[in-house]
Symmetry: C3
Subunit: 460 residues, 3 copies
C-alpha cells in the first residue's frame, strides 16, 4: 500500500509538473488596466506623454544617437612639426638665426610642444661669484650680513658668507662688471655668473609666422577602426583656415594666439613671458557613414591666467642647460626659456548602429514613459475632486486577517453593508450625476462584489 | 463649545492620522493581473522572456559581470628601459657605436619613447652660406634671383639676397664642396652648412635586436588597489613571447614591428623613415579573485599611414641639436632623427562584487523584462483576431462625467445593458466555443458586474 | 449606390477617427491595483520601500548629486617648477653645486617631472677599451675567451674578440687604472671607458628641501568652465601643509616622500636608487556654488615596488648624454641618473543642476522602487500560507479557447462550481479564521463572480 501511494504521488507530481509547464506556455499575465474617462487628466497625461515621446525620440534616439553603441575612449598619437626660421638680437647687437632645433625644447614630447619665444642665455662655470642684485638680502656691507642667512629658493647657489664689495666676475673670457655700489653683494658658490634677466633678454622675431603641422592618428578600440586627420586630397603647402580650409592641419602661431586670446594687448605679453594654450582636437565619428566623412574639429583656448589679472605666477618659463668641457672643467650655457606651451587634448567618440544598445535604450525609454502615468495617477488620486471615486475603481481590497480592531473600521464596514443591500447588483438605473460623490463612494465596491469582507464572511 | 469642537477635531485628526499610519503598515498594493489563456501569445511571450532572461543573466550578469562595481579609470605609470648596442657607418666609412644614451631622444618621456633608427648629423656654425640644392628657387644666376623672395618653411635661414656662384662652405675645419654648377645658389644667413639628406644618412644597425623592458604600475583609485606587470617568479633574462612567455615584459623591436605591421616590405621603410606604433596594455582585473591572477595583455598596432599608400607626410622624424662653444662661437651638431616612436596606451578596468551595483542591475533587468509583456500586449490587443475580447478583459472603464454626449456612446451603452440581462451572473452553462467572439465580447463585462455605468447608476 | 456606400464608409471612417482622437484625450489607462490587507507583508514592503527611498534620496540624489549633470573628462595642463640648490661630492673630493637646470631631465615634460637625486657621470670617447669588471663573461685569459660570445644587453659595446690582460684606459687626459688581475678583460669597441657604478656615484644633497610649485589649469568642456589651483589671496613664499596650508600648491620633496612612503627605512633607498611617485590632483567641483570654492585635493602614493620586497627591477634610473667635439672627435658626458620620477594624474568631475538629468534619475529610481513590490509579490504569492487566496485575487483568468482538455481541468472546474453555490454572494457572516485555507481558497473566486469559467459559460 505504501508503494502504491508513493507511485500515486509520483503520478500526481508528474501531472502537476506537466500541467505547470503547459500553463506557462498556455497563459500569460498582463496588468489589468482601469480606463478613466476624465478629459482633464487624460489630456494632461497625453501632453506629458507627447513631451516625453518627442524628447525621447528626437533628442535621445536621433540627436544623441541612442541607436548607436559608443566608444568614447580613443587611443591617439600626435606628432608635431614646426617650421619657420626666427631671429633674435643679442645684447651686443648681433643678429642670430634661431631654427626649429633651437626653439623646440625638448625636441619631442608626447601630446605637447614648447616653442621658445624669448630667452636669456648665460654662459656659466662652477666657481664663486657675487649674487644677482635683484636677490633680496644679497646687498651687504660686511661679511656678517652674508653669513647665517637661511636658504631661499631664489638664491643662485650656496652662500659662502663673504661680502664682495667690488663684485667682478670673469666667466669664459667675458668680463662683466656689476654696478659698483658703495655696498657690496654676498658671494655664492655655484654656477657663475648669475643670470641677468634685466638686460640680456632676447626675443625671437617672426614667431607668429611659424607653422605647426599636426598629424593626429586615432583608433577606436571597440570598433577596431583607425583614422587620421589628413584627408587624401590635401595639397602640401596649405594653411588652416576655419572657413576656407578646414581640412588642412597646418596652423600658424598667429592663428593659434588669436583664437586662444581675444584680448590683443595680451598677445605681446604672451610671447614675452610665455603662456599655456590647449589645443582640442575633437572627433565625432558616425561609423554608419563612410569613415572619410569623419573629420576633427580644432579649437584653441588659453589655459594660464591673463596678465591683466596680475596672477600669482604669470606666464610660462623653464631653464635648461647644455654643458661641455673646456680646459678640464665643465662649462654650461644656461637658457631661461619663455614661450608658447601647447598642450594637445584629443577627445573623441565613435558610434555605430548596435541592436542591443537600441533595445536597452528603448527599454529605458519605456520606463521613462511610465513616469507620465505615475504623475497623472498621483494627480488624479490626490488632487482631483473625485479622487475618492477613482480610488474605489483603481483599488481592489483583499482583507483576510479579519477581526476589525477599531470602532472606525467596524463603522466603516457597517456603512458599506448597509449601502450594499438596497441596491441589487444588476439594477437598471439612470446615470447618476457626479454631484453625489459620497453615495458613489460605496457603489463601485458594491458593484464589484469582490468585497474582501464578503470573501471572509461567506465561508461559515 | 468652541474649544470642545476643536478638541474633538484634534481627536478626530489624531484618529485619522493613526489609522492612516496603520493602513500603510496593514495594506499594500500590487497590480491586478489578467491571465490570458492563449497558447500562441503565451508561447511568444515566454520565448521573448527566455531570450531576455538568457541574454540578461548570461551576457549582462555573468559575461559582463553585472554584479561588480567597476573602475575604468586607472592611474598608471610606465617606465621604459631599452637595451642594445647599435652601430652605423659614417659617410667617411667609419663604424661608430651607438648606445641607448645616443638613440633614445629625449632620454625620458611620459608614456612614450623614441628610438632613433636612422639619422643625419651635420656640424654647424652660425654664418652665411649657400642654400641646399634641393630647395626650390635656390638656384640662381644673379643676385636678383635671390632677393625679394617670400619666406618658405623649407628655407634653412634668412636669405641675404646674394647669389653664390661657386658655393663653398667651411665649417669647423671640415671642407665641403657643393657640386659646382654653372648656376649658383642663393646665400642665407643661419646655421651652416645646410643639412644634406641625400648622402650623409646613417642607418643604425642591429635595431631589431634591441629589447624594451616595460615596467607598468597601475592603480585603481576606487578600490585602492595597486598592481604591476611583473610577476614575482620572473627570471631576469627573458623575452616576451605571445604563447610561451606571456608574463615577461621585455619585448624585442623585431617582435614589435612584426606585430604592428604584417606587410614585410614596409619593415625596412619603417626603420628608414620612421613610424608611429602604439602599444596597448590592457588590464582586466577581477578583484574577487587573487590580484596576482590579473595580468595585462599587450598588443601593438601601427598608427601612421603605410608608405605604399603614399601619404601626405610619411614616417616620423624630428631634428635636435647639441651645442657648445668653440673659439668664442656657438657650434652645434644638428641631428635629423628618423625612428620608431612608441606610444604606450594603458587601458584598464577592475571589478569587485558590489551589492548596490547588483541591485541596480537586477532592477534595470526587471525593467527590460517588462518589455516582453509590453510587446505581447501590443500584439494581442492590436494584431490578434480576438483583440476586442481581450480589450474588454484588460480594460475596466470608469466613466464619471456621465451624460453621454454622442449617439455612438449611448448606443454602445445600450447594447451592453441589453446583453447583460438575459444572462444571470452565476448561471451554470456549458462551455461556449470560441466561434462566437461577438457574443463573448459582451459576456466578460457582464460577468465582472463591475461595470462603471452600473457603478454610477445604482445609487439613485 | 456604390458612391453612396463609399461616402457612407468615408463618413464612418471620419467618425471613428474623430472618436478615436477624442478617446485619446478623454480617457487614460492606469493599472488596476489590488490592495492586500496583510500586515506582515505590508510591513515588509514598507521597510523595503523605506530602505530604497532613503538610499535613493540620500545616497543617489543628495550624496551622489543625482540632480546634476556631470563632466568627468576635464582637460588639464600642469606646469611644474622646482626650486632648490643641491650639491654633491665628486669622487676626487670636490663639492659641486647642482641646480635646477642640472637635476631636471628633460627640462620640461607633460604631466611628469624627473628630479635627479644620485648620478654617475663618465666622460667618454668612441674607441676600444676593456669591459667593466661587473660584466659576466668579460674576465678572460686569452683572446679565445672573448670571441664568439653572444651579445648580451649588459655589454657596453661590440666585443672585438681580444683579451686585454692589463687593462688600461686613457680617456680625455684622465688616466684610470682598472684593478690588475692575473686574468684580463675582454676588449670592446664603443664609448670608453665603461661606466663604473661602484665607486663614482654622486648623491645630490639637500634634495629633501627642494620645493615643487605645481600650477594646474583645468577646463570642463561640457560647462565651458576653466579653473586653476591657485587661489587669489595666495602669498608667494608658502609651503603646502595638509592642515594649515591646504591652498598652497608648493610642496617640499620631503613632504612628498613622507606621504608616498610611510616606511622610513625606504626613504634613503628611494633617493639613492630612484623611485616612481604618482601625485593625484582630484577636483570635485560643484558648479551650483561659486567656482572659487572648488579646490583640488592632493595625494601622493608610491607606484614602484618597495625595495624590501626585493623586486625584479628596483628603483628608477636612465642614462643621458651631452656631447661635443674636441679635437675633431665627438666626446660625451654620460650620466646615469637615479631619481624621483613624479607622475601627475589629474582626475576631476564637475556637476551642475540639470533638469533632464534629474528627470532621468527620478525615472530610474521609480523603476527601482517597483522592485520592492516585485519582491513582496514573489513572497506573498509563493511563500505565504494564503498564497492561493491571494493569487485568486490578483489574477483574473481569461479563457477563450474553451474545451477543457484534461480531466484535471474538468475536475477543478467542477469543484469550483460546487463550492460556489451554497454561499450566496452577499451573505453576512462571521469572520473566518485563517486556519481553514482550503475553504478560503474557493471563497474569493465566488465572491468575485468574475470567474473566467463563468464568463465563457454564461453565453449559451
Amino acid at each position: 500500500m505504501n508503494s502504491n501511494s508513493s507511485s500515486k504521488r509520483r503520478f500526481q507530481f508528474k501531472k502537476i509538473a506537466k500541467s505547470a509547464i503547459k500553463d506557462v506556455f498556455m497563459e500569460y499575465e498582463t496588468p489589468k488596466l482601469v480606463v478613466i474617462n476624465n478629459p482633464k487628466y487624460a489630456t494632461l497625461l497625453r501632453i506629458i506623454q507627447i513631451i516625453i515621446l518627442i524628447y525621447s525620440v528626437l533628442y535621445l534616439l536621433i540627436y544623441e544617437k541612442g541607436y548607436q553603441k559608443e566608444d568614447t575612449a580613443p587611443i591617439s598619437a600626435v606628432t608635431l612639426k614646426v617650421k619657420g626660421i626666427g631671429y633674435a638680437y643679442t645684447p651686443d647687437n648681433q643678429t642670430i638665426i634661431i631654427d626649429g632645433a633651437d626653439y623646440i625644447i625638448p625636441p619631442s614630447e608626447n601630446n605637447a610642444i614648447f616653442i621658445m619665444t624669448n630667452f636669456i642665455r648665460t654662459d656659466q662655470i662652477r666657481t664663486k661669484c657675487a649674487e644677482a642684485t635683484k636677490i633680496k638680502g644679497a646687498v651687504c656691507k660686511s661679511d656678517s650680513d652674508c653669513s647665517n642667512k637661511p636658504f631661499t629658493p631664489t638664491m643662485n647657489g650656496r652662500w659662502t658668507g663673504r661680502c664682495l664689495l667690488s663684485p667682478e666676475t670673469n666667466v669664459l673670457n667675458r668680463i662683466k662688471n656689476n654696478t659698483k655700489t658703495p655696498t657690496g653683494l654676498c658671494e655664492y658658490a655655484g654656477w657663475c655668473p648669475p643670470e641677468d634677466d634685466q638686460t640680456s633678454t632676447m626675443i625671437v622675431q617672426e614667431v607668429r609666422n611659424f607653422t605647426i603641422f599636426m598629424k593626429n592618428f586615432i583608433e577606436f578600440p571597440t570598433f577596431e577602426v583607425k583614422h587620421k586627420n589628413m584627408v587624401d586630397e590635401l595639397t602640401k603647402p596649405c594653411i588652416f583656415h576655419p572657413k576656407t580650409n578646414k581640412d588642412c592641419p597646418i596652423f600658424t602661431i598667429d592663428h593659434i594666439i588669436n583664437e586662444a586670446e581675444k584680448n590683443l594687448s595680451e598677445h605681446s605679453l604672451m610671447l614675452h613671458y610665455g603662456c599655456v594654450i590647449r589645443m582640442k582636437v575633437d572627433w565625432d565619428c558616425n561609423l554608419d557613414r563612410k569613415i572619410k566623412l569623419c573629420k576633427p574639429e580644432y579649437s584653441f583656448a588659453r589655459l594660464d591666467i591673463p596678465f591683466y589679472e596680475n596672477p600669482f605666477s604669470p606666464g610660462f618659463n623653464f631653464r635648461y642647460a647644455t654643458s661641455w668641457k673646456q680646459n678640464q672643467t665643465y662649462v654650461r650655457a644656461l637658457t631661461k626659456a619663455y614661450g608658447l606651451r601647447l598642450i594637445i587634448a584629443i577627445t573623441g567618440k565613435a558610434g555605430k548602429f548596435d541592436f542591443i544598445t537600441l533595445t536597452l535604450n528603448i527599454g529605458s525609454l519605456v520606463g521613462i514613459f511610465g513616469l507620465a502615468t505615475f504623475i497623472c495617477d498621483i494627480a488624479i488620486l490626490h488632487l482631483s475632486k473625485k479622487a475618492h471615486t477613482y480610488r474605489k475603481h483603481i483599488f481592489d481590497t483583499v482583507q483576510l486577517s479579519a477581526r476589525p480592531d477599531t470602532i472606525l473600521e467596524l463603522a466603516k464596514r457597517h456603512m458599506r453593508r448597509a449601502s450594499r443591500f438596497p441596491v441589487p447588483p444588476s439594477t437598471i438605473a439612470e446615470e447618476s450625476s457626479a454631484e453625489t460623490p459620497d453615495d458613489m463612494l460605496t457603489s463601485p465596491e458594491q458593484a464589484v462584489t469582490m468585497d474582501p469582507d464578503n470573501a471572509m464572511n461567506s465561508d461559515q
